[in-house]
């Protein structure tokens, strides 16, 4: 039963990922990514982390992807959707894609040997709430790193604001 659920989730995630890349309509792309995120949340749920699953849905599905949808609405993508192909037949991208596929296939071929001593499992101790465990690690053991990431994110936000300011028409400054 567990395996069946896992295979379904894995298959659905790969399928929606491919759908997101292939579909021509940008709104459909966002929807496929939404499907991907939701299945990912379910996968986390089956691994025993309710908290991560809920946060995944709130942050990615509830906030980030809605903003993506906004952007798709606000910029006009009609011209792009009419194009039959986005890239030419033999572009460097295609080569990179081939290389990447090779790596993935090679890894997959070695996978049975790997699974014997490596099992996908979140490092939660048995008994005790995973939420407590995670909070303790985040806010005690790795507090400095955690805050550092916060600073990095703040820098990104400031950078975005700065770029927007620069792009504005200078004649409108000071209004």
């Amino acid at each position: 039963m567990e395996k069946l659920v896992f295979y379904y989730l894995a298959f659905a995630m790969i399928a929606s990922g491919i759908g997101a890349v292939v579909s021509r309509n940008p709104v459909h792309t966002v929807l496929f990514v939404l499907g991907l995120v939701l299945h990912q949340a379910l996968l986390l749920f089956t691994l025993g982390s309710e908290f991560l699953a809920a946060v995944q849905v709130i942050v990615y599905a509830g906030a980030v992807l809605v903003l993506f949808l906004f952007v798709v609405y606000l910029i006009n993508l009609k011209k792009e959707t009419l194009k039959r192909r986005f890239i030419k037949n033999f572009s460097p991208c295609f080569l990179i894609f081939l290389l990447f596929t090779l790596i993935v296939v090679k890894t997959l071929l070695f996978l049975p040997a790997l699974t014997s001593h490596f099992k996908a499992r979140l490092p939660f101790p048995k008994g005790g709430s995973p939420l407590y465990f995670m909070a303790k690690n985040l806010f005690q053991t790795y507090l400095f790193q955690f805050e550092l990431i916060g600073v990095v994110l703040l820098v990104v936000v400031l950078g975005a604001v700065f770029l927007l300011r620069r792009l504005d028409n200078p004649s409108e400054e000071g209004k």
């Binding site: 908290f51 946060v55 509830g62 609405y73």
Partner: protein
């Protein structure tokens, strides 16, 4: 296996009860608003119009579902279902009684927040796929509104979580048992007010019903819908009201706890508080005019979110000191 079947039966029972509540909530709304506006309200179908909800349902079921020209058909059909499922599933996490909660999840509160953030998709996709200006504008407005008010709501609920020390809704109720009035209402009065306002905005109810502002957007995001699909949006709105009221009762008013327990009726206090909240929603609709869009955004970002953060900060400090 038998556990699964038991769970299924419980879900169906809860769903049927919730649907009945929704049906009679529409009736109560029409009756109460009529009373407040000195009209009679529905009084033809059945005694005192009591069968009106069923007549409405029959009418909506037998109407022709129109799919207009130029819509994105798959998404157009999917959007009302997304709305309904996201609004309705939240009921599973709300404890009606200490021994009756469908899903006793450790982070039930977070799941409800996650579902309510997903329900924005139903609206925004309905608006986009309808291929209509009114609908698109309504959808955009609604998405902006839901995202903004979700932050205030989440923050106000977080201070409850800090006080209770748990994300589990059952534990939150149990944490309130030793307080005066058996509720977080007084220690969390700021959080409660913030939650109440943002919950109304989350459900897109008056005075925050900008997405469907009749006078400017006809009916907003569901202007192109008809028949049962139109009704699904209404169902979703009323389900959302039920879930939000249930959440308010659980987190701020002490859930199933009451001044004294009534033998044989364990749900009594929960339902009483729930009905009070639902009445409050209807009362607001009969009383207040609609906000302007910029006023709505100002209220959310400049007043409610700072207030909620302040409240969270104070709660955390008090929790640390005491």
């Amino acid at each position: 296996m038998s556990e699964l079947i038991c769970l299924l039966i419980c879900s169906v029972i809860l769903l049927v009860i919730a649907l009945l509540h929704v049906a009679y909530l529409t009736y109560a709304e029409r009756k109460i608003i009529a009373r407040m506006q000195q009209r009679l309200g529905p009084n033809r179908v059945g005694p005192r119009g009591l069968l009106q909800p069923f007549a409405d349902m029959l009418k909506l079921l037998t109407k022709e579902p129109i799919i207009p020209y130029g819509v994105d058909k798959n998404i157009f059909v999917l959007a009302p279902l997304i709305s309904l499922v996201c609004a309705g599933s939240g009921l599973a996490f709300i404890p009606l009684w200490s021994n009756f909660v469908l899903s006793n999840a450790n982070v039930g509160l977070l799941f409800i927040l996650a579902l309510s953030s997903l329900s924005a998709y139903g609206i925004i996709l309905a608006g986009w796929s309808s291929n209509s200006r009114y609908a698109l504008l309504g959808g955009l407005r609604s998405a902006a509104q839901v995202i903004s008010y979700e932050i205030a709501m989440g923050l106000s609920l977080l201070s409850v979580v800090v006080m209770a020390g748990s994300f589990n809704l059952g534990d939150i109720v149990r944490a309130q048992a030793n307080l005066p009035w058996k509720a977080f209402l007084f220690p969390q009065i700021i959080g409660f007010v913030v939650f109440l306002i943002s919950a109304v905005a989350e459900c897109n109810r008056v005075p925050f019903d900008l997405p469907e502002a009749e006078s400017e957007l006809v009916a907003g995001y569901f202007v192109e819908y008809s028949g049962m699909r139109f009704a699904l949006f209404y169902l979703a709105e009323y389900f959302a009201m039920l879930v939000m009221s249930g959440l308010a009762v659980t987190c701020f008013l002490g859930g199933w706890l009451g001044p004294f327990s009534i033998p044989g009726l364990p749900f009594f206090w929960f339902l009483l508080k729930l009905y009070a909240f639902l009445f409050f929603y209807i009362w607001l609709r009969a009383t207040l005019p609609r906000y302007r869009y910029d006023q709505l955004m100002d209220l959310g970002w400049k007043l409610l979110i700072p207030l909620a953060i302040l409240n969270l900060f104070l709660t955390a400090i008090i929790k640390l000191l005491v």
